[in-house]
């Protein structure tokens, strides 16, 4: 870090601490986005916040909210002959009802990790005798990219490429969170890159109708600190607004081109979110015009009824209703090497982070919190 950056961080830390002490009462802030969870963990920002702030990880993590059914289908595809499942690395170890893509690979399943959906398209071009099923997970940041891949597949008449669509949209989930009587939230740290696409406008209802303030945040430690400052400032000043901290990347109307591509290929549908249940219009489905690239239609997976592992309370954890330690599986049965639920898969997920920090303190200094 150069000197101006260090000075900026010092100033922001001072602001956060100063405002935290001015808060009229303890506050619960939710950081919605999984990438924010990781950034907060890696920078140790929770150690800067005073005891009046509880920072809760929210459901903005595709790994965590994807229900078992999608993983079960992906595993089925991977184990079929002449079929390759192409997926982002995030989903590789996520457990479904019985297994994971990682385990399927040990049994001979064909799974290819890709960085971009266009890599999956190239894989299909290079392997015309194989079906390539791309696991489409992610929110509005990722959906336009997958839509673009489907458009290219149509353009090139690539019949062996298809998408198993599990995309979801954020504002509807936030509405459910905001209206949950058991969650007492005073502010949201809103996802910066989803907002690059959708802009600021789709969140306004939170402040106007649900009395829930939010700040759209970037991902550098300085961005997150500034966003927390802005939330604290709103609370202290008695304001309830949606603000943009990530001004360099987020405009009120978002990326219209990306939204147009998304809407060309996908339509809204009801979607099941782990922990939140079925939320109306919170999912994306592939439009009929592109049904030849919809894996659920072209090559439906033959799976049994998905099951939830008894005792797994990932749903409650990712909505902030329960702490990981309240889960009966936490630690002995469910841990990063052998995760039962998705919250434990990454060492930076809610449960993974808590696992790392359980009962540990660094003596002589302030406790190290997750």
């Amino acid at each position: 870090m150069n000197e101006p950056e260090k000075e900026k961080i010092k100033a922001l830390i001072f602001c956060v601490k100063s405002l935290c002490h001015r808060l009229p009462e303890p506050v619960n802030l939710m950081e919605v986005c999984g990438t924010h969870t990781v950034a907060i963990y890696r920078s140790g920002i929770k150690q800067i916040l005073c005891h009046k702030t509880r920072l809760i990880s929210g459901p903005g993590c595709p790994v965590c909210v994807t229900p078992n059914e999608l993983v079960d289908k992906a595993i089925w595809y991977a184990l079929q002959s002449h079929t390759i499942v192409a997926t982002f690395g995030d989903m590789f170890k996520v457990p479904g009802s019985y297994s994971s893509l990682a385990e399927a690979k040990t049994k001979g399943g064909k799974v290819q990790l890709t960085y971009s959906p266009l890599e999956a398209l190239e894989l299909a071009k290079r392997n015309p005798e194989e079906r390539v099923v791309f696991l489409g997970v992610g929110f509005e940041t990722t959906a336009p990219l997958v839509a673009s891949a489907i458009l290219k597949a149509k353009e090139h008449n690539l019949s062996n490429f298809m998408v198993l669509c599990g995309h979801k949209t954020i504002p509807q989930a936030l509405e459910k969170i905001a209206n949950n009587p058991f969650l007492n939230l005073q502010g949201l740290i809103l996802p910066g890159h989803v907002s690059c696409i959708i802009g600021k406008n789709p969140y306004e209802f939170l402040a106007q109708d649900c009395n829930l303030r939010g700040v759209i945040s970037g991902f550098e430690p300085g961005d997150i600190l500034e966003s927390i400052c802005l939330l604290y400032k709103q609370i202290v000043e008695g304001r309830c607004e949606i603000e943009v901290q990530y001004r360099r990347a987020v405009s009120p109307e978002g990326n219209q081109e990306a939204l147009a591509v998304l809407e060309r290929v996908f339509t809204s549908s009801d979607s099941e979110w782990r922990g939140l249940g079925i939320i109306a219009n919170s999912g994306l489905s592939i439009r009929e015009e592109f049904s030849n690239w919809d894996a659920d239609l072209v090559y439906p997976a033959q799976i049994g009824k998905p099951i939830q592992h008894k005792g797994c309370i990932c749903g409650a954890v990712i909505t902030g209703l329960k702490e990981p330690e309240e889960c009966s599986l936490f630690g002995d049965t469910c841990n990063p090497e052998h995760p039962v639920g998705p919250c434990m898969v990454s060492s930076e997920g809610t449960c993974g982070t808590h696992f790392l920090y359980q009962a540990r303190e660094i003596e002589n200094e302030s406790p190290v919190h997750p």
């Binding site: 961080i9 993590c61 590789f92 170890k93 990722t142 600190l225 630690g331 052998h338 060492s347």
Partner: protein, 349 residues
């Protein structure tokens, strides 16, 4: 709460567990495999020290003996190839216990259909490194398996060296207050190999740091007791090495984020893929634990060699927290650095 790693669906399925790729990545599962399956069967006082090379008293000499197998993909990558890696890897395992590499053996497992020109290139590469280091490949073996039974070529090398340090390098000699030095930028090898393996549309000058550390580390051998311990942080990155030290001796390790030497391109790959540079493999770097008063001389000796020009102090041994490695972040906060679970997976989240 006691933390245990137990099979996911209950103890009765333990027998059905299979080897996963993560068992070979140098992180938690590798440790589990060694601790629960291998050591209980093979264990002896030499093996149980789990040093990079076994040190054997063969009066009047102390010998060092090490073996390693190489399965890297792709077999040719920017900065090296599987052959160069196989020889430097074993040379480095000897060098970090203070041994001059004398002789190396090499075993090839070749897949039917491997072009002879490819094998020739790899052998040339191995001989080049051995010559430069002043040791010889004196024994070997070649096996060929059917197409599909191996991925082109696997290599095992075993090395024998002569301990040259005045006092023994041992994890047992490390004390709170000792300083931790890394001999250069971290994560170069893993990042370069990842770009090559994934065939990412990236143009970069980033290359693997694959190199023999013998000449670099030789300069430190006369410092005697001031050098407590050395290790080359390969699979699992410096996080794996530091955690091994902290766990074995049950003290803590503090590293300082600001001091970590990382090339901009490696930072870029990490930001793009969601990797943690602390978990990325290195093949031409050493971690050196040295007494506080010797840091200046150690750094000045290392920096005289081209491979050591970016050497820096990255942390220190502390009394507490017991058995933990933590990092002081640029924000002044503390973050635990754990063993990675498996190989780093590219993320979009």
């Amino acid at each position: 709460m006691k933390v245990q790693s137990t099979p996911r669906w209950g103890a009765e399925l333990k027998e059905k567990e299979v080897i996963k790729l993560a068992h070979g990545s140098g992180g938690k599962l590798t440790r589990e495999l060694i601790d629960k399956l291998i050591r209980p069967k093979f264990g002896n006082r030499i093996l149980d020290r789990l040093e990079d090379a076994a040190v054997i008293f063969f009066p009047p000499h102390l010998l060092a003996f090490s073996t390693d197998s190489y399965v890297v993909r792709p077999i040719f990558f920017p900065g090296g190839d599987i052959g160069k890696l196989a020889v430097t890897g074993t040379i480095n395992d000897l060098a970090v216990v203070g041994a001059q590499p004398l002789v190396i053996s090499c075993g090839f497992i070749l897949e039917e259909g491997l072009p002879l020109a490819t094998l020739n290139r790899i052998i040339d590469s191995m001989q080049k490194v051995a010559c430069e280091t002043g040791c010889e490949i004196v024994a070997g073996d070649t096996k060929v398996v059917e197409k599909g039974a191996a991925d082109q070529i696997f290599i095992n090398t075993t090395g024998l060296g002569l301990i040259r340090t005045k006092s023994s390098l041992s994890i047992e000699r490390i004390k709170p207050g000792d300083q931790i030095i890394v001999t250069g930028t971290i994560g170069d090898h893993a990042a370069a190999v990842f770009v090559a393996r994934q065939n990412l549309p990236v143009k970069t000058s980033l290359i693997s740091d694959c190199a023999s550390l013998y000449r670099l580390l030789e300069s430190l051998w006369n410092l005697g007791e001031k050098i407590r311990f050395m290790r080359d942080p390969t699979r699992g990155g410096i996080a794996a090495t530091l955690n091994e030290i902290a766990n074995r001796r049950n003290f803590g390790i503090e590293i300082v984020e600001e001091t970590l030497p990382i090339q901009p391109e490696v930072k870029g790959i990490c930001e793009l893929m969601g990797f943690d540079p602390l978990h990325l493999a290195n093949e031409g770097k050493a971690i050196i634990v040295a007494s506080p008063e010797s840091v200046e001389i150690v750094l000045s000796l290392l920096k005289q060699h081209p491979l050591g020009k970016n050497s820096s102090v990255i942390g220190r041994i502390v009394e507490n927290p017991l058995g933990l490695v933590y990092m002081k972040t640029n924000l002044g906060t503390k973050r635990i650095i754990d063993l990675p679970v498996g190989d780093p997976l590219p993320r979009i989240c």
